[in-house]
Symmetry: C2
Subunit: 138 residues, 2 copies
Amino acid sequence: MGCDRQYSQVLERLRQAELRPTRQRLALARLLFENGHRHVTAERLHEEAIAANIRVSLATVYNSLHQFTDAGLLREIVVDYGRSYFDTNTSDHHHFFHESCGRLEDIPPGEVVVAEVPAPPDGTRIRRVDVIVRVSSE
Amino acid sequence: MGCDRQYSQVLERLRQAELRPTRQRLALARLLFENGHRHVTAERLHEEAIAANIRVSLATVYNSLHQFTDAGLLREIVVDYGRSYFDTNTSDHHHFFHESCGRLEDIPPGEVVVAEVPAPPDGTRIRRVDVIVRVSSE
DNA sequence: GCCGGACTTTAGACTTCCTCTAAAACAAGT
DNA sequence: ACTTGTTTTAGAGGAAGTCTAAAGTCCGGC
């Protein structure tokens, strides 16, 4: 099954991020990282955890998501007013946002090319370029 | 001064958008459109209106901003979780977002080139492409 | 000018998403 | 096992925005 290997990989990720592998962090990390790339909201992850019988508070879910983000394990994406998505794919890529259902989807790599990144204003440095292609059903 | 002309231009804009030129809408529209392009939040516009002795409620500011947006007079931009900016420049352009101070700034036209816009997922149509370049002070 | 009906505005309660607080629980070295 | 510093938690608190229903305004017809 490879379960043990996955488990210890997740554990190792937390160690490298210098985050104590507590019960809650470990469980959340497994939900996030053991099944391919995902886009989740805090609410959604919390529901999943509860459904999986992991007792964890919403505050801890928020804390963990932010700690993972700070450690570079997640990327936070804001599209809709007042809702954050967390993407387990931290590589350089962009998104489709489905306006009708609020779903976020990766744009296959290589499909958007920002041909020329503008010079940042004086005294500033570019942290990231976000491209969001908003789509709606026809 | 050209004030009368500006006034009637704003009036005309509301008429074309099929929005009754009420006292409040007219006053807000003047704040928004009579002094070059701007990026404002609802809170900010409300404060300005109060400061200019225009009695208007926050709810009306929100209503008006959304009506103007629906009519194509404004463009709504979401960068930060839980805060919307409204841009009076509705032409096709993109933004720098200053992470430290929360300021939004236009990228001069022609500076970002999205060389290739990806094909939208089946059954969907592209509504808009948003490019946000996040910068922070060095 | 004045009326009447439709459209707008308003205050304030409410919702949603998220953060804070202080106390209880836990991890990990000794 | 004990201690110490870190984490977790429930629930209160906060910010941004929406909703409601009552009061006010616009404007065409008279």
